[in-house]
C-alpha cells in the first residue's frame, strides 16, 4: 500500500508504548506466597520443561495443582515449554523444578516481557495491520488511523504488558480466523480459530458466530452441492486441528477428562471476585450465589446467555455477511461476558477485540466502549500498581481516536447506524428525533462518572463496613454500560436487515 511508512510508524509507536508499559510492575510482584499471573506463567514453564507431558495436568508431588496448576488448553502448555527451552539457555535457575518458585529478578522480568513482545509481534500485530489494510471503502489515512487506534487500545496493552498475560496470542489467532473467514479463506480461518480456542478456552465466546457464519455460508452455497463439500471440509479441518493439538492427551481417557476438568471448573461458582457482569452486580441486591443451588445457577446462566445471543446468531446463519459477522462477534462475546459462568474481568478483552474491528464503522460508540472496558478493569490495574500507565494510555488512546476519526462530529443517526431503527420507532413515536443528543449526553455523564470513580478509588479509603465499595461501584457502573452496549449492538444487527435487503434490490 502507499504510505507504508506511515503504517510502520504506527506499528512502531504501538511497540514503543507496549515496551514502556512493560517497564512497570507486574501481577503479584514481590507478594509471596502466591504472587500472581506472572509467577503462574513462570511456573508453567517450570512444569512443562521438567515434567513429562502425562503429568502436566495431574496433581502430584512434583506438580501441586493448588499452586497455579495449568488451566489453559494444551497450546498454552506448548508455548510455555518453548519459552522454558529458551530460558534454559539463558539461566536454568529460572525454571529449576521446585527451587525456582517465586523467582524474581530484573533479568528474568526482561526475559518474560520479551516473550510477550515476540508473541505479539509474530501473531497479533501482523493480523491487525493486515486487517486494516484490507478494510473496504476506507481511505488510506483511515486505514492507518484504525491500525494506530487498535494498537493503542489500552486494555490489551495493560493486561499483557503490565499485569502479564499472553492474550495477544489467542486474540491474534482469533483475528487471523476473522480475516480468513471474512475473505473466503474459510479453511485457514477455521484452522486459525481452532488454534485460538486451543490456546485459551475463553475464545469459545467467539465460537458461535464463527459457527453460524460458516454454516450460513454453507447454506447459501446450497446444502446439496458446494455447501455440503464446504461443510465436510470445515468439519475435517476443525477435527484435525483439535486432534493435532490434543494428541498427547488423547492416548488415555483419563488424560482427556482431567484436562477438561482443569479447563472448565464447574464446581467453582457463578463468579469469583468482582467482575462487571450481571451476576456480580445483581448480587449487590440479592446474594444468588448463596440462595440458589449450584446446578440451578448453571442452568440460569446458560439460559440467559443463549437467550440473549440467539437472535443475532440466527440472523447471521440466515444472512451471512462479513459486517454481520463482526457485529455478531461483539454481541455474542458481550452476552457471554454478561451472563456466563465463572467470568473473569479480563474476559472483557474478548469483547474489545471485535469492537476494535468495527472501530472504523462506528468510531464514536466503539471508542466509548473501549474506554469503558479499560475502566472496568480498574480494580485489577490498581492492584498491580499500574495507575500511571493506565491513565496515560487511556488518554493517548482517546486522543488518537478523537483526532483520527473526529468522533464528536460523528454522532448523527446515520453515523451511529441507528437510522433504520429510528425510522421504525418514528412510525409509532413521531417525536423520536433526539437520539443523537441523548447519546451525547449519556457519553458525557459516563465519562464524568468514570473519572470521578477513578479519582475516588485512588484517593479515598473505603468505609470500614464496606471495604469493597469502590470495586463494586466500578463493576456496577461498567455493567450498566455493557447492558446498554448489548442493546445497542443487537439493535444494529437486527435492524440492519432492512438496509441490506433494500440495497440488494437496488443492486
Amino acid at each position: 500500500m502507499e504510505k507504508w511508512y506511515l503504517m510502520t510508524a504506527a506499528v512502531l509507536l504501538g511497540l514503543t508504548v507496549r515496551w514502556t508499559v512493560s517497564l512497570n510492575s507486574y501481577s503479584g510482584a514481590g507478594k509471596p506466597p502466591m504472587f500472581g499471573d506472572y509467577e503462574a506463567q513462570r511456573h508453567w514453564q517450570e512444569i512443562t520443561f521438567n515434567l513429562p507431558i502425562k503429568q502436566w495436568y495431574f496433581n502430584s508431588s512434583d506438580n501441586n495443582l493448588q499452586y497455579w496448576g495449568l488451566d489453559y488448553p494444551p497450546l498454552t502448555a506448548y508455548h510455555s515449554f518453548l519459552c522454558a527451552y529458551v530460558a534454559k539457555f539463558i539461566n536454568p535457575d529460572w525454571i529449576a523444578l521446585h527451587t525456582s518458585r517465586g523467582y524474581e529478578s530484573q533479568a528474568h522480568k526482561l526475559f518474560m516481557r520479551a516473550t510477550v513482545l515476540i508473541a505479539d509481534l509474530l501473531i497479533y500485530i501482523p493480523a491487525v495491520v493486515l486487517y486494516c489494510c484490507c478494510l473496504k471503502e476506507v481511505s488510506t489515512k483511515k486505514k492507518i488511523a484504525s491500525a494506530l487506534c487498535i494498537l493503542l487500545y489500552p486494555g490489551l496493552i495493560l493486561i499483557d504488558y503490565g499485569h502479564f498475560q499472553y492474550n495477544s496470542v489467542s486474540l491474534g489467532f482469533a483475528l487471523w480466523g476473522v480475516l480468513g473467514v471474512s475473505y473466503d479463506w474459510d479453511l485457514l480461518g477455521s484452522l486459525a480459530f481452532c488454534l485460538a480456542i486451543n490456546y485459551k478456552q475463553m475464545e469459545l465466546y467467539h465460537s458461535l458466530p464463527f459457527f453460524c457464519f460458516l454454516l450460513g455460508k454453507c447454506f447459501k452455497k446450497g446444502l446439496k452441492g458446494k455447501g455440503l463439500v464446504l461443510l465436510i471440509k470445515l468439519t475435517c479441518t476443525v477435527v484435525a486441528s483439535f486432534v493435532l493439538c490434543w494428541l498427547p492427551f488423547f492416548t488415555e481417557r483419563e488424560q482427556t477428562l482431567q484436562v477438561l476438568r482443569r479447563l472448565f471448573p464447574v464446581d467453582r461458582g457463578l463468579f469469583e471476585d468482582k467482575v462487571a457482569n450481571i451476576w456480580c452486580s445483581f448480587s449487590v441486591f440479592l446474594k444468588i450465589r448463596d440462595i440458589l443451588p449450584h446446578h440451578i445457577q448453571i442452568m440460569i446462566s446458560f439460559c440467559f446467555t443463549f437467550l440473549s445471543l440467539l437472535p443475532a446468531c440466527i440472523k447471521l446463519t440466515l444472512h451471512p455477511s462479513p459486517k454481520g459477522f463482526r457485529f455478531t462477534l461483539v454481541s455474542c462475546a458481550l452476552s457471554f461476558f454478561l451472563f456466563s459462568f465463572q467470568v473473569h474481568e479480563k474476559s472483557i478483552l474478548l469483547v474489545s477485540l471485535p469492537v476494535c474491528l468495527v472501530l472504523s464503522e462506528i468510531p464514536f460508540m466503539s471508542t466509548w466502549f473501549l474506554l469503558v472496558s479499560t475502566f472496568s478493569m480498574l480494580p485489577l490495574l490498581l492492584k498491580d500498581e499500574l495507575l500511571m500507565p493506565s491513565v496515560v494510555t487511556v488518554m493517548a488512546f482517546f486522543i488518537a481516536c478523537a483526532t483520527s476519526f473526529s468522533i464528536f462530529e460523528k454522532t448523527s443517526e446515520e453515523e451511529l447506524q441507528l437510522k433504520c431503527f429510528s425510522t421504525s420507532v418514528r412510525k409509532y413515536f413521531t417525536c423520536f428525533t433526539f437520539l443523537p443528543k441523548i447519546i451525547q449526553h449519556l457519553f458525557l455523564m459516563s465519562v464524568i462518572a468514570m473519572i470521578l470513580l477513578t479519582m475516588m478509588t485512588v484517593t479515598l479509603d473505603p468505609p470500614q463496613k464496606l471495604p469493597d465499595l469502590f470495586s463494586v461501584l466500578v463493576c456496577f457502573v461498567s455493567c450498566l454500560h455493557f447492558l446498554f452496549f448489548l442493546v445497542y449492538f443487537n439493535i444494529i444487527i437486527m435492524w440492519d436487515s432492512k438496509n441490506g435487503r433494500s440495497q440488494k434490490k437496488i443492486n
Partner: protein
Amino acid sequence: MAAFGIATGGGNWFSALALGVTLLKCLLIPTYHSTDFEVHRNWLAITHSLPISQWYYEATSEWTLDYPPFFAWFEYALSHVAKYFDQEMLNVRNLNYSSPRTLLFQRFSVIFTDALFVYAVHECCKCIDGKKAGKELTEKPKFILSVLLLWNFGLLIVDHIHFQYNGFLSGLMLLSIARFFQKRHMEGAFLFAVLLHFKHIYLYIAPAYGVYLLRSYCFTANKPDGSIRWNSFSFVRLISLGLIVFLVSAVSLGPFLALNQLPQVFSRLFPFKRGLCHAYWAPNFWALYSALDKVLSVIGLELKLLDPNKIPKASMTSGLVQQFQHTVLPSVTPLATFICTLIAVLPSVFCLWFKPQGPRGFLRCLILCALSSFMFGWHVHEKAILLAVLPMSLLSVGKAVDASIFLILTTTGHYSLFPLLFTAAEKKNLFLIGWKLSTFLAWDLWKSSVNLYSLSPPGT
C-alpha cells in the same frame, strides 16, 4: 459537545502532537536515569537550603553547581514546589536520594517545563511558509516541522530518560530564532542573552548571533548589490542591544560580583581541568585524534619504537573525566581547541557578514557554529549535538538539499546518543525502536519534501 468536537477534531493536529508526546514522556518516567538526576537533586538542595553566597562554593557532593546563575535561580524556584513532594530531597547531605516521589517530581518538572518548548515550536511553525504544501496533512511543512521538533528522539532520550532540562532551554533558543524570522530582533537578542545565563554551552552559537545582529540589525540598509552600507549604521540599535546584554548579565552575575565571587563562578562554569574528552566520547574530531594517537602508540610499542616506561598509565578510554597527555601526537591544550574552533567557524561567519541572507542565512551560520564547536571544542558532551540537530530541523523543511543533510545528521546524531543509555538491554531495545521511528519519520518527511520542492529550482 460541539466545542469539544472542534477542539479535538482533525484540524487541531498540533495539540494532538503536543499532548501525544507529553503522554509518551509520562510513560518514560520509570526508565533508567543517569547521574544527572542526582546532579539536579543536589542543585535543588543547594539552592533551597543554602544562602546565595554558598551556592558556588558548596562541595559536599561531587556534582557541584556548574551552570550560570539563572539556572541556579530556576532550581531555587523548583525547590519551592519540591518541598510538597518530598522534603528529604532538599537536604544537601542526602546524597543519591531518589525516593519515588523525588523521581516523580523531577520527571514532572522536565515534562512541565517543556511547555516552553512546545510554545517555541508553535512560533517556529508560524515562520514556515506553507503555501506550496500539498493537501495531505503529512505533507504540510508545518506538520513535518512540528513532528521533527516535538517528537525529536534525541531530546526525548536526553531529557526524559537520561535526565536533563534541555527542553525549555532549546525552547528559548528556538523562540529567539523565531523572533529573528519575525523581525523582532530585540526580543530575540534578549531571549538569547537570557539563554546564555541559563546554560553557557550556548556560547557555541554566540558568534552567529553577534555577527548577524551587528550586520543585519545595526546596519539598517544594504547597497543594491548586497554589500554593506556604512552610513546606515544605527548607534541607537547598537546601544540598545548592548544595554539588553548588559542588563541581563547584571541581573545574573550582579549578586556574585557584589560578593566578589566572580572568579569562583567562572572556574565552576569553565572547568578546563576536566580534560579534552568527556567520560563518554563525543563523536568529534578529538575523539578521532585520540583514537589515532592510541593506534599509533600500540603500533609504536609493537615495533619497539617507543619505550613502554615513558607511556602514561591513564587511558582516555577508561570512562573517566581527567586530564590526559597524548603519547605520539602532540597534546592538545584548550587554546589549541579554541583556535581550531575559530578557524572552523570563520567561513560561515564571514559569509554572514559579507553576504547576509536574512534570517535563513543566520540559521545556517548558527548550525555551522554549533557543529564546529561540537567538532573542535574542549570537553564536549555528546548531548551537544542537539544544538545542531534542532535548528537544522527548521532548515530541513525548507529545501530538499537541507532535508537530505538533515537525514544524515539526525540519524547519526541520535545514534551517537545511545551510549547515554548505560543500562540493561531492555532500554536499548526501546531506543532502537525509537531511533528507527525517528529515522523513518525523517526519511518519510524527506521524501515528501523532495516531492514538494522538486518543482523549485535549485539554489533558492
